[in-house]
C-alpha cells in the first residue's frame, strides 16, 4: 500500500489518474480505515486530502450560499453558527454520523462517496439542493448530490475524480430544513429509514419543497410527488397524509438485518410527516 499526501487538488487528481489498482481518497478515514481494518478493502494507493490548503474551509459563496470543503468535519460544521442557522437539517444529518470521536473526523464528502444508501448526511444535502464540485483528469464539473450515488457502495464518479467541496444554495427567507432518521437505539446506529425535507414558505403556505429519502432504495431518492403533496398547503393533516402516501409509494426498501421492508415503508411515511413539521416550524422561526 502506498500513502500519498498531495498538497493540491491538481496533484491529488494527477496521482489518482496514474494509479492502476484499488485507490481510495482519505479524508476523515472513518469509512476507509474501518473497511481496511475489517479486511473489506485493502487499497493499493491511499491519497490523503487533509494536507491540501483550502479543502478545510467553510466559506460563504458570492450568491449567499455555502461552500464546505471536502475535509471539513461534522464537528466543525456544528460549531459554525451561521451555517447551522441557514441549514440546520444538513448539519443535523451530518452530526448523526457516528460518535463524538467520529464527528471529529467524518466529512460530508466522505459520507457521500462511501455510497451507502443509509448515509445520514445525504438526504439532508439532496433536500437542500446541494451540489458537489467534482475534479478529475478532465477538469472540474459541478454535479447535483443526488446524481453521485450509483448503488450500495458505488458512485458515478469516474476513475481519478474526487469531490473538492459541497455547495449549498442560499437559504433565502422563510426557509427551513430538517433531517430525521429511524434507529432502534438512540445513538451509534445506521439509519433504518432517513428523511430530509427542505421547504420555503410564503406566510403560512409552503411555496417550494424538496423531499429526500434514505435507506429505502438502492440510492438516496428525491421524491417530486412528495414535494408536490405539500406545496401550496399549510401542512395540514390532509397534506401530511398525502406526503406520507407519496413517500411510501416512492420507497422500494429491502428487508435486511436492520429492518424489514414493510417496516421501512410504514415508517418512512411517519418520519416524513415529522420532518416536514420541524422544517415548517424552522421556516416560521426564520420568518420572524
Amino acid at each position: 500500500m502506498r500513502y500519498h499526501a498531495p498538497s493540491s487538488v491538481a496533484e491529488a487528481v494527477k496521482l489518482a489518474a496514474g494509479t492502476t489498482g484499488i485507490t481510495r481518497f482519505l479524508s476523515g478515514g472513518t469509512d476507509v480505515l474501518v473497511q481496511l481494518r475489517a479486511g473489506m478493502v485493502t487499497p493499493d494507493d491511499l491519497i490523503d486530502l487533509k494536507k491540501i490548503p483550502g479543502l478545510h474551509d467553510i466559506t460563504k459563496t458570492a450568491d449567499g450560499g455555502w461552500r464546505i470543503g471536502a475535509t471539513v468535519s461534522g464537528a466543525e460544521m456544528r460549531r459554525h453558527a451561521a451555517l447551522c442557522a441557514d441549514w440546520p437539517g444538513v448539519v443535523e444529518g451530518m452530526n448523526l454520523v457516528g460518535s463524538t470521536q467520529v464527528q471529529g473526523r467524518a466529512t460530508l464528502a466522505g459520507n457521500l462517496c462511501n455510497g451507502s444508501p443509509a448515509a445520514d448526511s445525504v438526504p439532508g444535502m439532496v433536500a437542500a439542493g446541494a451540489r458537489v464540485v467534482v475534479t478529475g483528469p478532465n477538469g472540474t464539473r459541478d454535479v447535483a448530490v443526488e446524481d453521485i450515488p450509483a448503488g450500495p457502495g458505488r458512485t458515478k464518479l469516474q476513475p481519478g475524480e474526487m469531490i473538492e467541496a459541497v455547495l449549498l444554495p442560499p437559504r433565502g427567507t422563510q426557509g427551513g430544513d430538517a433531517y430525521l432518521r429511524f434507529i432502534p437505539r438512540t445513538e451509534m446506529d445506521i439509519a433504518v429509514v432517513g428523511v430530509g425535507i427542505s421547504l420555503t414558505l410564503d406566510g403560512d403556505k409552503v411555496v417550494s419543497a424538496r423531499v429526500s429519502l434514505g435507506a429505502v432504495a438502492p440510492t438516496v431518492l428525491l421524491v417530486d410527488a412528495a414535494a408536490k403533496a405539500i406545496i401550496g398547503t399549510t401542512l395540514d393533516e390532509a397534506a401530511l397524509a398525502a406526503l406520507a402516501t407519496a413517500v411510501r409509494a416512492a420507497a422500494t426498501p429491502i428487508s435486511d438485518k436492520r429492518g424489514t421492508a414493510e417496516f421501512r415503508k410504514e415508517v418512512v411515511g411517519v418520519l416524513a410527516g415529522r420532518a416536514a413539521r420541524i422544517a415548517y416550524d424552522r421556516a416560521k422561526g426564520a420568518a420572524k
Partner: protein, 747 residues
C-alpha cells in the same frame, strides 16, 4: 466513611475506592492483549465461511511460503482419542471432518507480524463440500432437518425423535390433573427467545509459549484460569501441571470466559514454531461468530390460577439449542428456574436439548433463567390481567420462602423474595404517573448462586499489612469486597489489605468467577484464612506474655489479654507481631480450601416503565427499578453495579439484541454496529434497592448478586409493552418492527 445499610460492622457496607481503579482509569491495567514477550509471534485463525460443510482438504503450502510465516496448524496437529466434553472442546477449537457453524476454526497461522498472519490465513486453501444447515431450534428438531451428527444423542431421548435432539429431561412433583382442575383459569402459551451474546468489551486474547518438552506458560483473559489449564491441557494431551496459566485483568466475561475457544491454538502454534511465544487476539467479528452466546429457546408454558391469584399448577416444556455439541445449552437450569419464585404444589418440567449449526453456547449470566422467566413471568402477567389481579400481590401471595419446597426439588433455607416484593411495593416508582402510550411491567427473577472449589491463602507482612491470594479473577469488584471482609475480620484498615489474583501454580484448584461465587466463596475462604492467622498471632502473643493462648483474644487489629485473670499486658498489634515473627516461630499465614456448598439463592423484582411510539413501534425505557436480596452488601456500590448491569443486559436482550442469520446460515450482524447492545443514552439511571436478608451460610451473610438481575427484564419489559399498547409480544427481541406489526395487526 458512612455506611449505608448494614448494621454492626466497621467496614462492611462502606464504599471505598476499588484497588484496581487507578490502574484502570489511567490505562495501566494489563488486559489480555497487553501482554507481550521478546520474539513473540502473532496468530490468525482460518474460519469456515459455511454453516455446515465437509472439510475435504486443507492446503497450507502457499501460506507457509509467505515470508514471516512460522507455523500453520490444523486438526491433524492435535491428539486423537478424546471423548465427551474434552472432544467437544477440541472439535470446537479446530474443526475435524466438518465445519459446524459459520466462523468455526479450521486452521491457525503464526507469523512475525499480525498483518502477515492475517495475509497467510487468507492463503490457506480449504476445500469444502457445503451441506444443508439449520439454525432455528424448532426447525432443527423437525422431520427432515439436516443431521448435525448421527449418534450424538444420549440415552435420555425418547425413541423416534430427530437425531438433533440429544438430551431429554423431566422432573416435577404433585398431581398435575388435580392442580389444573382446581384452577379457575388455565392458560397455555408458547414463547421464543433469540440467542444473545454476553457482549463483553474485551475480546478474547492470550499470549502463550510452549517448548518441545510440553512445558507451557499462558497469560490469558479469563474468568477461570484453572478451567483454562484443565481444558487446554486436555485438548492438547499434556499434563495439567506442565501448564502455568496467569490471568490478566478482564474486561467483562458474564460467563462467556469460563471456557476455552482459541487458547490451545496459541500453545500449539508456539510449540510448532520452536517455542517462540504467540499472541492471539480475536476481532469483534470473531467473538460474535465463534465464541459462545447463550442458547436460543422455544418454550410452552401452562399455568392454573384461582380467582384469588393462587397458583394451583404449573407446567413447562422447553426446547433449546446451544450449538453443535451436546451439553452446551442450559436447558436443565432453565427448567429449574422456571417456577423457582413460587410455592407451587403441582409442577412439571420437560426439556429438550437440540443441536444446530450455531457457535457452541457458553454460560451467560444466570444461564437459562432469563428465557424461562420470559415465558413463565409473561404468562403469569397475562393471566393476572385476565383476572384483574395486581401482579405484585399475586407474586407475594405465591412467593417461595424459608421452608418452601422449591419447584426444582430442594427446600429453601432463609431467602429474601418476600422482603424484596415488599420493598418493591413500597417504592416511589410505583406511584409515578403514566402518560399516553406508556405502561408499567413487573417481574420476579431467581438464580441459585454457587459455592464451588475454592482455595485462598493469606500472609501477614513484616509491617502488619496483609496479602490475600485468591484464584477468582476480579470482574465486578471482588478484590475490594474481599479486602473489606478480611480487614473487618482482622480489625485493621481496608487499605492495609491487598488482594491479588494469583496464577495456577500458587493455589489449589479454584473454579472460575462464575455462578456469582467470587465474593461469596473466595470471601468466605479469606475470612477463614484470616481467622487462622489471627489464632496464630494470638499464640505468638501468648508466648511473649507467657500465658495460655486461650487467655488471648483478638480485637481492633491487636492481641489483648482476654480478661483481668489473664494478666495485665499492653496489646500487641498486628504490626508488632509481624515485625517480630521471624524470631517467634516464622512466617504467619492462613490458608483455607473448601468446596463451598452453603451459598444462598438471590431473588429479585424489577419494575419498568416504558413508552412505545405507536407509529414506529420503538420502545423507550422511562424508568427502571431493581430490587434484589444481596444477603449482605459488602461493598454496596458494586452490588448496585451488578443490579444495573444485569438490567442493562436484559434490556438489550428484550429489545434489540439477536443473532441474525442469512439464508446461507452466515451470521449477518458480526459487529457492534448491528449487534445492538444498548448504548448509554438508551438507558435511564437504573434505580436500585438492596434488600439484605443475610445468608446463614456465610460469615458475613453474603449471597451472590451477579446474575439474578438479568432474569426479570425480559418479561418485565414484555409486560410493560403490553400495558402500553394492549399487545402481547411472545418472542424476543421486541424490536420496533415486531412491535409495530403487533400494533398494526387486527384485534
Amino acid at each position: 466513611m458512612a455506611k449505608d445499610q448494614t448494621q454492626g460492622y466497621r467496614l462492611i457496607g462502606t464504599r471505598p475506592d476499588r484497588p484496581d481503579g487507578l490502574d484502570k482509569v489511567t490505562g495501566r491495567a494489563r488486559y489480555g492483549a497487553d501482554i507481550s514477550a521478546p520474539g513473540m509471534l502473532h496468530a490468525a485463525v482460518v474460519r469456515s465461511p459455511h454453516a455446515h460443510a465437509k472439510i475435504l482438504k486443507i492446503d497450507a503450502t502457499k501460506a507457509l511460503a509467505l515470508p514471516g510465516v512460522k507455523a500453520v496448524i490444523t486438526r491433524a496437529d492435535l491428539p486423537t482419542g478424546l471423548t465427551g466434553e474434552d472432544w467437544n472442546l477440541q472439535e470446537n477449537t479446530l474443526a475435524g471432518e466438518k465445519a459446524l457453524y459459520d466462523g468455526h476454526a479450521v486452521a491457525a497461522v503464526a507469523a512475525t507480524t499480525k498483518l502477515i498472519a492475517q495475509d497467510a490465513a487468507k492463503l490457506v486453501e480449504v476445500t469444502y463440500e457445503v451441506l444443508p444447515h439449520v439454525t432455528d431450534v424448532d426447525a432443527a428438531m423437525a422431520p427432515g432437518a439436516p443431521v448435525i451428527r448421527e449418534g450424538a444423542a444420549d440415552h435420555s431421548v425418547p425413541e423416534g425423535m430427530h437425531p438433533n435432539v440429544v438430551r431429554y429431561m423431566d422432573f416435577g412433583h404433585g398431581d398435575m390433573d388435580a392442580g389444573f382442575a382446581a384452577a379457575d383459569l388455565v392458560r397455555e402459551q408458547s414463547y421464543k427467545t433469540e440467542a444473545t451474546h454476553q457482549g463483553y468489551i474485551e475480546p478474547h486474547a492470550c499470549m502463550a509459549q510452549m517448548g518441545a518438552d510440553d512445558r507451557g506458560e499462558m497469560w490469558v483473559c479469563t474468568q477461570g484460569h484453572w478451567y483454562i489449564r484443565r481444558m487446554t491441557s486436555a485438548v492438547l494431551g499434556i499434563d495439567a501441571a506442565k501448564l502455568r496459566v496467569t490471568p490478566s485483568e478482564i474486561g467483562g466475561g458474564f460467563g462467556g470466559k469460563t471456557t476455552i475457544f482459541m487458547e490451545p491454538l496459541a500453545l500449539a502454534l508456539s510449540q510448532k514454531a520452536g517455542g517462540r511465544p504467540v499472541k492471539l487476539v480475536m476481532s469483534r467479528s470473531e467473538v460474535l461468530r465463534a465464541t459462545g452466546p447463550t442458547a436460543s429457546a422455544s418454550m410452552d408454558v401452562k399455568l392454573g390460577l384461582k380467582k384469588d391469584g393462587t397458583i394451583t399448577a404449573a407446567q413447562v416444556k422447553f426446547r433449546m439449542q446451544g450449538g453443535p455439541y451436546i451439553g452446551s445449552s442450559p436447558v436443565g437450569e432453565a427448567l429449574s428456574c422456571a417456577f423457582a419464585c413460587y410455592d407451587v404444589p403441582n409442577v412439571m418440567h420437560e426439556g429438550y436439548e437440540v443441536l444446530a449449526n450455531r457457535p457452541k453456547a457458553a454460560a451467560y449470566r444466570a444461564p437459562g433463567s432469563p428465557m424461562a422467566a420470559f415465558a413463565t413471568e409473561s404468562l403469569l402477567d397475562e393471566m393476572c390481567r385476565e383476572l384483574g389481579l395486581d401482579p405484585l400481590k399475586v407474586r407475594l401471595k405465591n412467593a417461595a420462602k424459608e421452608g418452601t419446597k422449591s419447584s426444582y426439588g430442594p427446600t429453601y433455607n432463609r431467602i429474601g423474595l418476600v422482603e424484596s416484593l415488599e420493598a418493591t411495593m413500597a417504592h416511589k416508582n410505583l406511584l409515578a404517573p403514566l402518560g399516553p402510550n406508556q405502561g408499567r411491567g413487573v417481574a420476579s427473577g431467581f438464580w441459585f448462586n454457587w459455592g464451588g472449589e475454592t482455595s485462598v491463602s493469606l500472609c501477614i507482612g513484616e509491617d502488619g499489612t496483609v496479602t490475600v491470594s485468591v484464584g477468582t479473577p476480579d470482574i465486578g469488584g471482588s478484590r475490594a469486597s474481599i479486602a473489606l471482609m478480611t480487614a473487618e475480620c482482622l480489625g485493621i484498615a481496608y487499605d492495609k489489605v491487598r488482594v491479588n489474583i494469583v496464577e495456577t501454580g500458587a493455589l489449589g484448584v479454584n473454579e472460575p468467577t462464575h455462578g456469582s461465587r467470587a465474593t461469596f466463596a473466595s470471601g468466605l475462604a479469606a475470612v477463614e484464612a484470616a481467622k487462622q492467622a489471627m489464632a496464630e498471632m494470638c499464640r505468638r502473643a501468648a508466648a511473649e506474655w507467657d500465658i495460655d493462648a486461650e487467655a488471648v483474644e483478638w480485637r481492633d487489629g491487636a492481641a489483648h489479654p482476654a480478661g483481668p485473670n489473664a494478666g495485665k499486658f499492653p496489646p500487641l498489634s498486628i504490626g508488632e507481631i509481624g515485625a517480630k515473627m521471624g524470631g517467634t516461630g516464622g512466617p504467619i499465614s492462613g490458608h483455607h480450601e473448601v468446596t463451598a456448598t452453603t451459598h444462598g439463592a438471590s431473588f429479585g423484582v424489577h419494575v419498568v416503565d416504558v413508552e412505545v411510539d405507536p407509529e414506529t413501534g420503538r420502545t423507550t425505557i422511562l424508568r427502571y427499578l431493581v430490587v434484589q436480596d444481596a444477603g449482605t452488601a459488602i461493598h454496596p456500590a458494586y452490588v448496585e453495579g451488578q443490579y444495573q448491569g444485569g438490567a442493562a443486559q436484559g434490556i438489550g436482550w428484550a429489545l434489540n439484541e439477536e443473532y441474525v442469520y442469512g439464508a446461507d446460515g452466515r451470521l449477518q450482524n458480526t459487529v457492534f454496529l448491528d449487534y445492538r447492545v444498548p448504548v448509554a443514552s438508551d438507558l435511564p439511571m437504573i434505580d436500585t434497592v438492596i434488600v439484605e436478608v443475610p445468608n446463614p451460610g456465610h460469615p458475613y451473610g453474603v449471597r451472590g448478586v451477579g446474575e439474578t438481575g438479568i432474569t426479570p427484564p425480559l418479561p418485565a419489559i414484555a409486560n410493560a409493552i403490553h400495558a402500553a399498547t394492549g399487545k402481547r409480544i411472545r418472542s424476543l427481541p421486541m424490536s420496533p418492527s415486531k412491535v409495530l406489526a403487533a400494533i398494526k395487526a387486527q384485534g
